[in-house]
């Protein structure tokens, strides 16, 4: 199994294969993400409706998937904080009986695998997908799982990695695996 095309996003920087392709002074994730979207000319208006975890996963995968055919690329992602960033925001909208305004547009992002759905929609990937929640990044586990998908012939490549975000603390480390 070969690991190619690695994208890291942290500290307001996007690094693809060791090269910094975008950097911002903004310490606020949503600002950083908006600037990155513009600078990289992504041209995908749905991006602005996503929650921050999906934006992070989307940006990282975009750098790796933008070229090529991904009709046989599976997605296996993991993180620590699941969707707690959006869970917290949603909970605030229902904490008080006098101020009870649950929003379906927020609620739908209270699932960690939604970011996988967003990537799948963007690249029309009707492929194997899985989302795991782990205490820390366990590359061997994710690679073992991906290897099974490749060996069974259910996919030819796997977009694999870690997409962690809670409030202003975030890190993405995403890569492509092939046989």
């Amino acid at each position: 199994m070969k690991k190619t095309d690695i994208c890291t996003i942290e500290n307001s920087k996007i690094i693809v294969n060791k090269e910094v392709i975008f950097e911002s002074q903004s310490k606020v994730f949503s600002e950083f993400a908006k600037e990155a979207y513009k600078s990289l000319e992504l041209n995908y208006p749905k991006f602005h409706k996503m929650d921050n975890l999906s934006k992070l996963a989307f940006l990282a995968s975009e750098m790796i998937l933008k070229d090529g055919d991904h009709s046989k690329t599976a997605i296996v992602l993991a993180n620590k904080s699941s969707s707690l960033d959006t869970d917290f925001k949603y909970q605030e909208s229902i904490n008080s009986q006098d101020n009870f305004f649950p929003s379906p547009a927020v609620f739908v992002y209270t699932l960690s695998n939604i970011c996988v759905g967003e990537i799948s929609i963007r690249h029309k990937m009707q492929t194997e997908n899985a989302f795991f929640v782990l205490d820390e990044f366990d590359e061997k586990f994710l690679n073992d799982y991906s290897e099974q998908i490749l060996e069974s012939g259910k996919a030819e490549k796997v977009l694999c990695g870690w997409v962690e975000l809670y409030q202003e603390s975030y890190k993405a480390f995403v890569y492509l695996l092939t046989n």
């Binding site: 699941s82 949603y90 996988v116 009707q126 073992d144």
Partner: protein, 384 residues
């Protein structure tokens, strides 16, 4: 040749009972856990399938001294306990936990995150209680989590990473989940009626379910496995995304169709060989219709099919494992259970929906699920 992987034991904790036998008997009698409950203060009551908290407490206190557990954790402990007593934990035993929202109720009126809302902390707490030696794996893929957890166990055993696995799946009713589904106007005004013309939406439910899954290896030969009281081979699995919409199922059933196709191809079974389908059947118009299209595309429209949602509601991350367990019970008892509350066909494509409990030989089971994020999952189970 890839390693074979088997389910050889299971248990469940639901409003219909705290073990498999009581659940099975309740199902035979057509009992349902769904009733009208007041879940959110100052809000209307909802139909939901809820475990009686006093009975749960009483059951928990029979077996456990430690009180430092949330309601959901107690449900997890009760479902796992008998399995841990019957099977060894080793350095090569995986612990896989499936949930969508875990202890989300702990978040209410909190300014910072309580540790217990982290799914990995929840899993570690359960793992530590029973003395699991490997790091827990949490599968969180919306409503397909329970089916996927079985597939993950199979795949990681086949990868050689583990020899066996305890899989536990659970979710509880919370204001968080009820208010969210209600904001989508997805909650039914009546007990849910999967595939029925008069259906009005879903009922949310709660449950935990647990299974012991083991691979063929030197210590556990085929003979040893066949000496268990039962075994079901996990013959195929797949989880394909619709790549269509994050909160609505595909109109063409693409993802579910592809998941079923992959799982059946891996299992090397044809549509004629499948004896029974335990479908997702949430009782929303879009879901039920999508499933009917996918099953027809696979030419599975004549295979007897049910949805368990009329009995248990939609138990989110628990539903896939719970419903797989009930399917295996069906196979062991040679009895198909009716799809509760179904009367009149309400999907555009033909399906063989089970109207009355009936005897049947069941060798191959197809279990499916679909959920938010466009995810779908299918597994094929073979009675050995």
């Amino acid at each position: 040749m890839r390693k074979e992987v088997y389910i050889t034991d299971y248990n469940c904790v639901t409003p219909l009972g705290f073990d498999v036998a009581s659940n099975w008997n309740a199902l035979l009698q057509g009992k349902s856990g769904v009733a009208k409950h007041k879940v959110i203060e100052n809000q209307e009551a909802f139909y939901a399938s809820i475990i009686d908290s006093e009975k749960l407490e009483e059951e928990f206190n029979k077996f456990f001294d430690n009180k430092d557990f949330t309601r959901l954790e107690k449900m997890f402990l009760l479902s796992l306990k008998p399995l841990v007593e019957r099977h060894n934990l080793t350095e090569e035993t995986a612990f896989i936990l499936s949930t969508t929202k875990g202890n989300i109720s702990l978040l209410k009126n909190k300014a910072t995150l309580p540790e217990g809302v982290y799914l990995s902390k929840l899993a570690q707490k359960i793992a530590d209680f029973f003395g699991f030696k490997t790091k827990p794996i949490v599968v969180s893929n919306a409503c397909v989590s329970g089916v996927m957890a079985i597939a993950v166990a199979k795949n990681m055993i086949q990868a050689g990473r583990y020899k066996d696995a305890f899989v536990v799946a659970g979710d509880e009713i919370s204001e968080f989940v009820i208010s969210g589904f209600n904001s989508f106007q997805a909650i039914g005004s009546q007990p849910c009626q999967p595939y029925d013309k008069n259906r009005s939406g879903i009922n949310i439910g709660e449950a935990t379910a647990a299974a012991f899954i083991t691979g063929h290896c030197e210590e556990r030969s085929d003979e040893a496995i066949s000496n268990e009281s039962f075994s079901f081979k996990i013959s195929g699995d797949s989880a394909i995304n619709d790549a269509n919409h994050i909160s609505g199922p595909s109109r063409t059933g693409d993802g579910l169709y592809a998941s079923i196709k992959n799982a059946m191809t891996e299992a090397n079974v044809s549509a004629e060989q499948i004896n029974f389908i335990s479908a997702h059947g949430t009782a929303t118009i879009y879901n039920d219709e999508m499933e009917a299209i996918a099953f027809n595309r696979m030419e599975l429209q004549n295979v007897p099919l049910n949805s368990m949602k009329g009995f248990y509601g939609h138990c989110l991350g628990a539903s896939g494992l719970l419903e797989s367990i009930i399917s295996m019970e069906s196979a062991l008892h040679n009895t198909l259970i009716s799809s509760k509350n179904f009367e009149e066909m309400g999907v555009s494509q033909p399906l063989h929906i089970i109207k009355e409990n009936q005897p049947a030989e069941i060798k191959y089971i197809l279990k499916t699920a679909s959920g938010f994020g466009g995810c779908n999952a299918a597994i094929v189970l073979e009675k050995c």
